[in-house]
């Protein structure tokens, strides 16, 4: 083939591809699989976004095409290739006709789990995607909540809604913590994000209730590329809950969410997550890939952000909720419980970046490995040159249940200021035969004994969760550990 021929062939191919690119139909329910600039434009168009946001998505998309999927996490079982062109990047919220009509149509295994977790029937329906009755408690509760919040000037709505109602806030803060070019998955998210939550708490306002996606109308179906942005203005306080203990029905394998938190002077954000996506079966078939970018900026003096996470689901969890400690005396905290059973793999941890003076960070990580699961803590503590008197305390504990699982720790410490004080403690323990026997001798059966011991191990983290969440987390661990012993 001559150079000329090649050139022609390429052009032909290029033009053909262009010809075959579908024409956006704003009214259609979902987009066909595939990703290109038109798809990005179409998503933005369907959401009626301002031009700057469309441009931002496009910049992200163009950057993404230059990137390659990272391979550095510690995943002994690896993971199957992801076909990015095989995914549909937009689907409208499910209509009633798509929904299951009753719980009888739901996978009995899922129902069994709901029963074990003690989830009320109406909630089970919502989680399983069954059409719910018109009078549904949480919806009316949500409406009442919204009224109260509005009185205080708190904005709590879906991301798409916020783009319309508060474009100036979105433009100011979107991508200000996680830039569109940040990493492969965050960049992909920036190009195609579907929906998510937006919270703004104005100056001096203390949000009087826990904000939860659960109580947000239209929370269902935010899709696999969720985008969350929370801004606490000066002196504000907000506690936000993400997820719930119940496993949700979901057909999307890849979840690449981005969460950005902005804490201004004297404000405090407490962000709690319970992640229980489908982990795949005992042999590692199926299961969600949970590749999430979560980062907070403590922008103002004396600001405070804490991340608390309980990660029990997903085939692969790969996330590092981080805090950039810019403001002097700002505080960052990370409390994590990650449990891997069967063939699950988790590579999770945090980054604490000390920039301001007298900044403080605490990291408490509890990894539990059972079955053939692998659990990795990966964390970075960075103290920059000007961060005088920075303090960090890191404690990472691993617990092994059985002898086919693994626990791994990769701490990175990078200190450029001699006044810094960085402490790191790590332990690995095996759930002891003697501990189990002691429990059994008191009448507690093996399964309950394991969950008692494991819950004890996680206590430091659970005590950071809002009360109700903590109780649920306890139950969740017990259910997730079923069949891991004996």
């Amino acid at each position: 083939m001559t150079t000329m021929d090649t050139q022609q062939a390429i052009e032909q191919l290029a033009s053909r591809k262009y010809k075959e690119g579908w024409v956006t139909d704003i009214e259609s329910e979902s987009l066909p699989p595939g990703l290109n600039e038109d798809v990005v434009r179409a998503i933005s168009g369907k959401k009626n976004e301002p031009a700057w946001l469309t441009e931002w998505r496009l910049k992200a998309y163009r950057h993404w095409t230059t990137m390659t999927q990272p391979t550095w996490p510690f995943l002994p079982y690896g993971y199957g290739p992801i076909d990015y062109q095989g995914v549909s990047y937009y689907s409208a919220p499910k209509q009633d006709k798509d929904q299951l009509k009753s719980l009888d149509e739901v996978d009995p295994k899922l129902l069994e789990t709901y029963a074990k977790l003690g989830i009320p029937l109406e909630e089970q329906k919502m989680l399983a995607g069954v059409a719910v009755d018109a009078v549904f408690d949480s919806v009316s509760v949500a409406t009442t909540f919204k009224g109260k919040l509005a009185e205080l000037g708190i904005v709590f709505c879906s991301f798409s809604e916020a783009v319309q109602s508060h474009p100036e806030l979105i433009q100011k803060y979107l991508g200000s913590v996680v830039p569109y070019s940040d990493n492969f998955f965050a960049t992909l998210n920036s190009a195609v994000f579907s929906d998510g939550s937006f919270v703004y708490v104005p100056k001096g306002v203390r949000c009087p209730m826990e904000l939860s996606t659960y109580f947000r109308i239209n929370a269902a179906n935010t899709g696999q590329f969720e985008r969350t942005l929370i801004v606490a203005d000066e002196g504000a306080y907000v506690s936000y809950l993400e997820g719930c203990t119940a496993p949700m029905r979901d057909e999307n394998q890849l979840h690449a969410a981005v969460v950005e938190l902005v804490a201004l002077k004297d404000s405090r954000i407490k962000y709690s997550t319970i992640q229980n996506w489908y982990p795949g079966d005992e042999n590692g078939r199926g299961g969600i890939y949970n590749f999430v970018t979560k980062r907070a900026a403590c922008r103002g003096e004396d600001s405070h952000v804490s991340w608390t996470q309980v990660e029990t689901g997903s085939a692969i969890t790969w996330k590092y909720p981080s805090v950039i400690l810019q403001g002097d005396r700002s505080v960052g905290e990370f409390y994590s419980v990650a449990l891997t059973n069967n063939m699950q793999q988790a590579d999770t941890g945090t980054k604490m970046i000390h920039i301001g003076k007298n900044t403080k960070s605490t990291i408490i990580s509890k990894g539990i490995s059972a079955g053939r699961g692998h659990n990795t803590y990966r964390g970075e503590v960075k103290v920059l040159r000007k961060a005088d008197n920075a303090r960090n305390y890191t404690q990472c504990d691993s617990m092994l249940i059985g002898d086919k699982c693994g626990a791994h720790t990769f701490p990175y410490i990078d200190v450029k200021n001699p006044t810094a004080h960085v402490e790191h403690e790590a332990t690995t323990s095996k759930i002891g035969e003697d501990q189990l026997f002691y429990c059994k001798q008191r009448g507690i059966n093996e399964e309950d004994a394991v969950s008692l011991i494991v819950n004890g191990f996680c206590k430091q983290v659970f005590s950071e969760l809002p009360m109700e969440f903590a109780v649920e987390a306890n139950k969740l661990l017990s259910v997730s550990l079923e069949g891991s012993v004996g």
Binding site: E433, Y438, Q441, R442, N445, D448, L452, I453
Partner: protein, 253 residues
């Protein structure tokens, strides 16, 4: 209540019990004494069902049932309690939480409803006073950072709350000062009843001054070689074990 016949048991390939015979009736207090390594603790662990100990021969009947056929938690729920010689630590689980879980597990086994935390605290109040256990101690993690005496007292407290039918005390008196020893004795004596039996494993007859046994047995090289009443304990205290060893050797020759 308990009938042990020709019990042989081994751990890691070593035969420790070599034909133990022992019958305990309801209402009785039996004491087992013997030199180190004679198999006293092994007997306790076998009765409680520790998997590391393998029963190779013999039988144990408990209230008409085959004890060896029951899982450790079943035995516990059927009323077998072991006060451990070395109680283990469970970080992050408070003593109260632990015992509450145990009480509810046993209630569940018996087909009774769970009791909630408030009821549980009410129920245990008297017992807490009886064994003089500090409330602060109970809110701490199971046995974590406890002194030897606190651990033993905690074992007796659990026993008193769980009200077993057969209580086995494995050297509960070791390492206790005289005050702690009295508390332990008081705990045992308060539980003494015609329906309940005790098996007290000890090195010294000191505890037996406070808890008077009906029978004293000497376990030697995996067998009970001598039985008697509390006088035997005094004799052992006085003369040591050597004469027993000699007697035993003479008997086997």
């Amino acid at each position: 209540m308990l009938e042990i016949k020709n019990l042989h048991a081994r751990v890691e390939g070593n035969e420790i019990l070599k034909g133990v015979d022992l019958t305990i009736n309801a209402g009785e207090i039996h004491s087992i004494m013997g030199p180190n390594g004679s198999g006293k603790s092994t007997l306790a662990q076998v009765l409680a069902g520790h998997e590391a100990f393998e029963v190779t021969e013999g039988s144990i009947t408990y209230n008409g049932k085959d004890l060896l056929d029951m899982a450790p938690d079943e035995r516990a729920a059927e009323g077998v309690f072991l006060a451990f010689q070395y109680p283990v630590e469970i970080p992050g689980v408070s003593n109260t939480q632990f015992l509450h879980a145990a009480v509810n597990a046993q209630r569940k086994y018996r087909g009774q409803d769970d009791i909630d935390a408030i009821e549980f605290l009410k129920l245990t109040k008297e017992t807490r006073n009886l064994v003089k256990i500090d409330e602060k101690l109970l809110s701490r993690s199971v046995n974590e950072g406890f002194s030897g005496g606190e651990k033993k007292r905690h074992e007796v407290y659990q026993m008193a709350v769980l009200e077993p039918k057969l209580a086995i005390l494995d050297e509960t008196d070791s390492g206790l000062d005289i005050d702690a020893l009295r508390v332990v004795a008081q705990g045992v004596n308060s539980l003494r009843s015609p329906e309940r039996a005790f098996l007290i494993i000890t090195h010294y007859q000191r505890l037996l001054e406070y808890v008077v046994p009906d029978f004293v047995h000497v376990l030697y090289r995996g067998r009970i070689v001598k039985s008697g009443d509390k006088q035997l304990a005094l004799q052992l205290e006085d003369k040591g074990y050597q004469w027993i060893e000699e007697e035993a050797r003479a008997a086997t020759v």
